[in-house]
């Protein structure tokens, strides 16, 4: 066994960097595409429920009923898009999706309320999007509750007994952006590592240059290092870029340590590079690599807790998520940004990332060496 040649590794790195920056199609992918995605996630992926369209049928037409409708609108959660005259209209609005929520206020609502009698209102929800529906229902409950207290009457929802006063820590306004943007870092790092690593290998296979490298004295380990070092650098630059934009542009708090973020990102990148290499060993063409990449990328995002909480998944998938490095990275990054957690609290996730990274890398190197030997 000859020793690895730092010179040869350096020359491969130089060539890779040259190719990355020369291709006018690949240049924007490196830094612009991640930023655009970050902006998209920051602005568009919003699971907050605001401005929910609401249709209202007010049979009562009293001062009290108008105050209730005003209260519904005032918080910004509901927009009255239609004031109906007949119940059939309400159903039509729901059916056509023109309103997500419809509110029906019966006659005698104002009188009952003033007399201290139980006053009933009916709220119908479009449950197609269960998430939005549940959240909207929660808002409506709170508004009705507050309204009842204020009016001093008895609304059906108002009950005696202990009252819960929830308070959200770390993200007091429960804004989804504060939660999503740090998570985007994980997705973008995964994407960059898979994409750049797998494609730089598969492209060489397509061109026949990989064959030429095989007959040269280049060793597989040198080739792997030469290919992964530039990807790591690009990924770290992206990390810095995204973190800065998240902090400055979106005003997401960063309460942890940047050093910890760097270390944990490096650990995470190892798994990404390994997955990229593994994809390259099973793909002959760039199209194959692309499809394989999606087969890896989508489940890893799905079972990372980015969109859906892991604890509400079926048990099998919860178990599967334990081998998903993105799951741990998500937890760490969110904790770093929002809770200011450090190595003391996060060591289990660190350990998991390190273990997965090493196992994946070992496997990738073995497969890769065999695929080109």
């Amino acid at each position: 066994m000859t020793r690895l040649s730092p010179f040869r590794i350096g020359q491969i790195v130089r060539k890779e960097v040259r190719q990355l920056f020369r291709d006018p199609r690949s240049r924007p992918i490196l830094f612009v595409a991640p930023l655009i995605q970050l902006l998209l996630f920051g602005y568009a992926v919003n699971t907050d429920v605001r401005n929910t369209p609401m249709a209202v049928l007010d049979h009562d037409r009293s001062a009290a009923s108008r105050r209730l409708i005003d209260a519904m609108e005032a918080a910004g959660y509901f927009d009255v898009v239609h004031a109906a005259d007949r119940s059939a209209e309400l159903v039509e609005y729901l059916d056509r999706g023109r309103a997500t929520v419809v509110l029906e206020i019966p006659p005698r609502f104002g009188r009952d309320l003033a007399a201290g009698q139980p006053a009933r209102i009916q709220l119908l929800l479009d449950g197609t999007d269960s998430n939005t529906g549940t959240v909207a229902l929660g808002y409506a409950r709170r508004i009705v509750l507050a309204f009842g207290l204020e009016e001093g009457g008895r609304l059906e929802l108002l009950e005696a007994g202990p009252r819960l006063e929830p308070r959200a820590w770390f993200n007091p306004a429960l804004e989804s952006r504060t939660y999503n943007v740090p998570g985007v870092i994980g997705i973008l790092l995964t994407l960059m590592c898979l994409l750049l690593t797998a494609f730089s290998v598969v492209r060489e296979r397509e061109l026949g240059t990989l064959d030429q490298l095989r007959v040269s004295p280049v060793r597989p380990a040198e080739l792997i290092l030469g290919k992964t070092i530039p990807v790591t650098i690009v990924a770290l630059v992206d990390l810095a870029l995204i973190t800065a934009v998240a902090r400055v542009w979106f005003g997401i708090p960063f309460r942890g340590s940047l050093m910890v973020l760097l270390v944990v990102s490096l650990l995470f990148i190892i798994s990404g590079l390994a997955a990229g290499l593994l994809i390259s060993t099973v793909s002959k063409t760039q199209q194959e690599a692309f499809l394989t990449m999606y087969l890896v990328l989508l489940p890893s995002i799905m079972f990372s807790g980015f969109f859906f909480p892991i604890h509400s998944m079926p048990e099998l998938f919860q178990w599967l998520s334990y081998i998903n490095p993105l799951r741990y990275f998500m937890e760490i990054v969110r904790a770093l940004f929002l809770k200011g957690a450090g190595a003391a609290e996060l060591w289990p996730q660190f350990g998991a990332l390190l273990l997965i990274g090493m196992v994946a890398l070992g496997w990738a190197i073995r497969r890769f060496a065999r695929s080109i030997a």
């Binding site: 040649s5 010179f7 040869r8 020359q11 060539k15 040259r18 190719q19 020369r22 291709d23 060489e204 061109l207 026949g208 240059t209 990989l210 064959d211 030429q212 490298l213 095989r214 007959v215 040269s216 004295p217 280049v218 030997a373």
Partner: protein
């Protein structure tokens, strides 16, 4: 005689049920240019890949530059150049960047590089295009660049797999000039080709057919070994003559060749008998010259003999 540069003994390679190369044994002397000739699927590429150390043999071995390819396939890599049919070039690097990258892989000293590149440009005439991206070159120029990349580390052994495949005649001549210049400098080379006329440029030719070695000698010796007469013939009605000749038991093959016909006679046959038969059929022979058998004639005959010998 020096120790051979390559010594192949019983080299065999199977792919599942297919035997791509079967029990191949031959020596290549140092400084020799050996042509590996045969149709597609004859086992040329498999042989070259085994010699380059990237494909392990199923049986047998070859000692290449003193190293066994079966046990130490990495040992001689820095001394050889293997060029696959389509040499891998980085399309988005320039001509010069490609050459420099391959030079760096083989750790060519940087101080030697400008001089070596100039020499390669001189033969390949790629100098004016050195800043052009490899992807923008024509097919012939790409192939020449591939050869330059393969040669920049001054290998002692060249293994070239159909270097002139699909290349225009001018570039093809350039490629052979480069190869011959290297041979003159003491390099050993095995060049595979499916073009018979190219085989004549080699010191010796190895004919491969279905993975077997069917002939190995200098081109002239091979041509002399045919043991049959070849006649070039001009006749007034060539079409009718072809029909007559196809029926004749004395003629092995008759093919149109420009305005004339080219006949390969059976070994025991005599030209005068064939001539008499044609004239008896009413054909007028304007010209009949004895011709040198081409390598193609020889190859076809060797394959026929091999097929006959097989049960």
């Amino acid at each position: 005689m020096d120790k051979p540069a390559i010594s192949i003994r019983g080299l065999t390679r199977r792919f599942d049920d297919l035997v791509a190369v079967r029990d191949l044994s031959l020596d290549v002397a140092s400084g020799e240019l050996l042509g590996l000739v045969g149709p597609d699927g004859a086992g040329k590429t498999t042989t070259l890949r085994m010699l380059a150390g990237v494909l392990p043999p199923s049986e047998g071995d070859a000692i290449v530059l003193g190293q066994s390819i079966a046990t130490r396939p990495e040992a001689m890599k820095s001394d050889i150049a293997y060029m696959s049919q389509r040499f891998g070039l980085y399309q988005d690097l320039t001509v010069r960047e490609n050459i420099e990258f391959y030079a760096d892989l083989y750790a060519v000293p940087r101080v030697d590089l400008p001089d070596r590149i100039e020499r390669l440009y001189a033969f390949s005439r790629l100098g004016p295009f050195e800043r052009r991206l490899a992807g923008d070159l024509s097919g012939g120029m790409k192939q020449k660049l591939g050869l330059c990349c393969a040669l920049v580390h001054r290998p002692r052994l060249l293994l070239l797999d159909e270097p002139t495949f699909g290349v225009d005649p001018i570039s093809r001549r350039d490629l052979w000039l480069i190869i011959h210049e290297r041979i003159a400098g003491g390099t050993t080379a095995i060049v595979s080709t499916a073009y018979m006329e190219e085989a004549e440029r080699c010191d010796r030719v190895a004919f491969l057919h279905e993975g077997r070695l069917v002939g190995l000698d200098e081109p002239r010796a091979l041509q002399g070994s045919l043991g049959a007469d070849v006649v070039e013939l001009e006749v007034d009605r060539p079409r009718q003559a072809l029909v007559e000749l196809a029926r004749s038991p004395l003629v092995r093959s008759a093919t149109p060749f420009g305005d004339s016909l080219r006949l390969v006679l059976r070994r025991e046959a005599d030209w005068s008998a064939v001539r008499a038969a044609l004239e008896a059929a009413g054909l007028r022979i304007a010209r009949a010259d004895a011709a040198r058998p081409s390598l193609e004639d020889v190859f076809v005959e060797l394959v026929r003999r091999m097929d006959e010998a097989r049960p």
